[in-house]
């Protein structure tokens, strides 16, 4: 909370720091730029093409081309048996998706936002996550639940919650949160190929951002491992963990800290469950300080889990208490200034502490 109060003192300088557009894309003029939206679309397209058991269902995924245009062109290419527009009945269609997965198909169930997944959460947890265990492996559930998670811009309290910690606490689920286009492609392909239920948390504000992608990423067999984090930027003074949109913010923060001579190591978690504890621990053992960043509510959040994990495994290496930067402990307000206050904008202070 101190971080936010001190924020006010910085005033206008905050505006410059908040990243709006794209383009990390400065390093190589020959590498291709790809928007996250395109990355997701191409991943869906390639996996549907490779395996006839893969199908997509959700609200507006077909004729509307996707509420956020992620599934653009898929209906034309694969037909209405494989790209299914559902009525606005999350509990019903999620249950149907899970049942289809029981039988052996590989459905991808899209939630228009994860806020609506709460209507179907019984099927995600009780029908999907727990079934392999309860049936002693007889029935597997190769399903992917995907959609935008967390805050967008000005959509209010009921449309802005981050569900990473809710789903990540449940054994039997895998929870992924991509940041860049490379992450989006690699992790979505991995999720679709994975024989277990995967919750794939995208971010609406990242859909329009472009990132450079190498030829390897563009290859149709490209896949990222689930459960492995990525060190986005190496450093030696403080470790900052983040996922999804916050990775972008963390990278900007690292730039600013560098000017003050603080070298921050930024870890893009990529996988919330399973969490890449070895990578986080190794980093903290190197830097001796940790700041966790997330958009979601603070209590029982992802940062809380990382903090506990580090204390259990690397207590002796910490030179200072772990700091958490999270969304504010309030439902998301609408007014732009309040919304800004409710989300992490600046966390250099925490790093400096």
């Amino acid at each position: 909370m101190l971080g936010i109060i001190r924020q006010k003192a910085f005033g206008q300088s905050l505006q410059r720091i908040r990243p709006v557009a794209s383009s990390w894309g400065g390093y190589s003029s020959t590498s291709k730029q790809m928007m996250v939206r395109e990355a997701l679309n191409s991943a869906l397209d390639e996996e549907m093409s490779a395996d006839p058991k893969v199908l997509l269902m959700g609200e507006e995924v077909g004729e509307y081309q996707g509420a956020y245009k992620i599934s653009k062109g898929l209906l034309e290419k694969y037909g209405p048996e494989r790209v299914l527009d559902t009525p606005i009945t999350e509990a019903g269609f999620t249950g149907i998706g899970v049942g289809a997965a029981f039988y052996g198909l590989k459905p991808i169930v899209e939630f228009m936002t994860f806020n609506f997944s709460m209507q179907a959460i019984d099927h995600i947890i009780n029908s999907a996550a727990k079934t392999s265990y309860m049936s002693a492996g007889q029935i597997s559930v190769p399903i992917v639940f995907r959609g935008p998670n967390g805050a967008a811009a000005g959509v209010g309290a009921q449309h802005s919650q981050c569900y990473a910690s809710w789903y990540a606490s449940c054994p039997g689920l895998k929870v992924l949160a991509p940041y860049s286009s490379e992450d989006a492609r690699g992790l979505l392909k991995a999720a679709i190929r994975d024989p277990d239920p995967v919750v794939f948390l995208e971010n609406e504000l990242l859909y329009g951002e472009s990132f450079p992608v190498s030829a390897e990423v563009l290859d149709s067999s490209f896949c990222l491992p689930i459960g492995k984090a990525k060190i986005e930027r190496e450093g030696k003074d403080v470790t900052i963990t983040a996922f999804s949109k916050m990775v972008g913010y963390a990278l900007k923060a690292a730039e600013i800290l560098a000017k003050d001579g603080i070298s921050a190591e930024i870890i893009n978690l990529r996988s919330i469950r399973p969490l890449d504890r070895p990578a986080i621990n190794a980093s903290v053992r190197k830097t001796n300080r940790l700041v966790t960043v997330e958009e979601g509510f603070p209590q029982h959040g992802v940062g809380a889990e990382i903090c506990a994990s580090i204390i259990e495994d690397s207590f002796g290496y910490l030179d200072a208490p772990v700091e958490r930067i999270t969304g504010a402990d309030v439902p998301m307000p609408y007014a732009a200034n309040l919304e800004r206050m409710a989300l992490p904008q600046i966390f250099m202070n925490a790093a400096r502490r």
Binding site: L55, F102, G227
Partner: protein, 396 residues
């Protein structure tokens, strides 16, 4: 009960004088018990229908099938009663929802379908599992939480599965199995398997919103799913008229056709399921309401007599018991003698006792099983026990 005999009558007259002379061993070899000559029997009550043409009341069956109905239901009955004793002896823990009284639904349905068709039900699943080909040992061992159980002891009473026989569980959340069943049907249609799914639920679950959501989608997409309401008239302790504004569950599909069936008559159940299977393969979903009854309470912690009278329970047992009904049909058609049927029951009792003894021998799961099957592909990640520093495992 109106009966119509055809080819069997002349043969039975021939054998009748011989029967008392044959020894017990020879009576077991009597050919008539395995005859597959068709027999037409009328259902006890006509079907009530909604938005469809009902099937005929005349059910085609044969002696072999009727004997197998008797054996099947008697086994289920004996199994559930034995489970009651095991629960009271504290060998079964947690929840135990017994199906005795409702056996005709499980047995009649099996007679109309194949193992490629799918069945999914709620937590009152022991007999449905048995009908799908599960063994008594698998049932008792699972109830007692042993390795020989169908879910290796990790599921319990409410989570029996047999995927290779098309049985998808075994679900504890009321109503959740209905959308899952519609999903199975979706996958069957997608795979062009020409098979169907029966999604069973109770009168208590019939008011669930997700049921109507799944029904809407099934009707829109023409899924080959049959929603079967096993109406035993009480959702736990709440009578149907206290829970549903309209307890005519077969009509609640509105635009979806429905059929109300005497669920205590295995032949009526068979006829309805056969009709339903043909219907959904061509015309999309249908609802079957099975008018049935459970003798036990909702579960073992419910005496079952606080919300209904003992007279009602014994009345149903007298008038409509499914096992007795088939016994009467068999005896009336002279397909077996009363002694032979009693001998079957004795045999079944022994089978059940043997299975229980075997199940008691089966060990409890090994400690490492705590961490198996969390995922299909564990990716080598760590999982923790209650004391994280003491109990850790790597998921394969």
């Amino acid at each position: 009960m109106a009966l119509a005999n055809f080819s069997s009558s002349s043969r039975s007259n021939l054998l009748k004088p011989l029967a008392p002379v044959l020894s017990f061993a020879e009576t077991l070899r009597r050919p008539i018990s395995t005859s597959t000559d068709p027999l037409i029997i009328e259902t006890s009550v006509p079907f009530t229908f909604h938005n469809c043409e009902p099937p005929s009341r005349s059910v085609e069956t044969n002696p072999q099938e009727l004997i197998s109905f008797f054996r099947g239901m008697a086994t289920m009955r004996r199994m559930e009663i034995a489970a009651d004793s095991l629960y009271k002896a504290k060998l079964i823990r947690g929840f135990c929802h017994l199906y005795d009284g409702q056996e005709a639904v499980a047995v009649g349905m099996e007679a109309a379908i194949t193992k490629k068709d799918c069945i999914i039900t709620a937590y009152r699943d022991h007999c449905t599992f048995l009908g799908r080909g599960g063994t008594l040992l698998e049932v008792f061992a699972e109830l007692m939480g042993r390795q020989a159980g169908c879910s290796r002891g990790k599921g319990g009473s409410m989570h029996f599965y047999k995927k290779e026989a098309g049985f998808y569980g075994g679900h504890g959340i009321v109503g959740a199995q209905v959308p899952l069943g519609c999903g199975l049907a979706f996958a069957q249609k997608y795979s062009k398997d020409e098979t169907v799914t029966f999604a069973l639920y109770g009168d208590g679950a019939a008011n669930q919103g997700q049921l109507f959501e799944a029904l809407n989608i099934s009707a829109l997409w023409d899924l080959p799913v049959i929603l079967v309401c096993e109406n035993n008239h009480y959702g736990m302790g709440t009578a149907e008229w206290r829970a549903a504004k309209n307890p005519a569950y077969y009509k609640r599909g509105d635009y979806v056709p429905g059929l109300k069936v005497d669920g205590m008559d295995a032949l009526a159940v068979k006829q309805a399921c056969k009709f339903a299977k043909e219907h959904v393969l061509r015309k999309g979903p249908i609802i079957l309401e099975m008018d049935t009854y459970r003798y036990h309470g909702h579960s073992m912690s419910d005496p079952g007599s606080t919300y209904r009278t003992r007279d009602e329970i014994s009345g149903v047992r007298q008038e409509r018991d499914p096992v007795e009904r088939i016994r009467k049909v068999i005896l009336a058609h002279d397909l077996a003698t009363e002694k032979e049927l009693k001998d079957f029951e004795k045999e079944i009792r022994k089978e059940v006792d043997q299975a229980i003894a075997q199940a008691k021998e089966s060990p409890m799961p090994e400690p490492y099983e705590l961490f198996t099957n969390v995922h299909v592909k564990g990716l080598g990640t760590e999982a923790f026990g209650a004391d994280r520093k003491e109990v850790r495992a790597v998921l394969p």
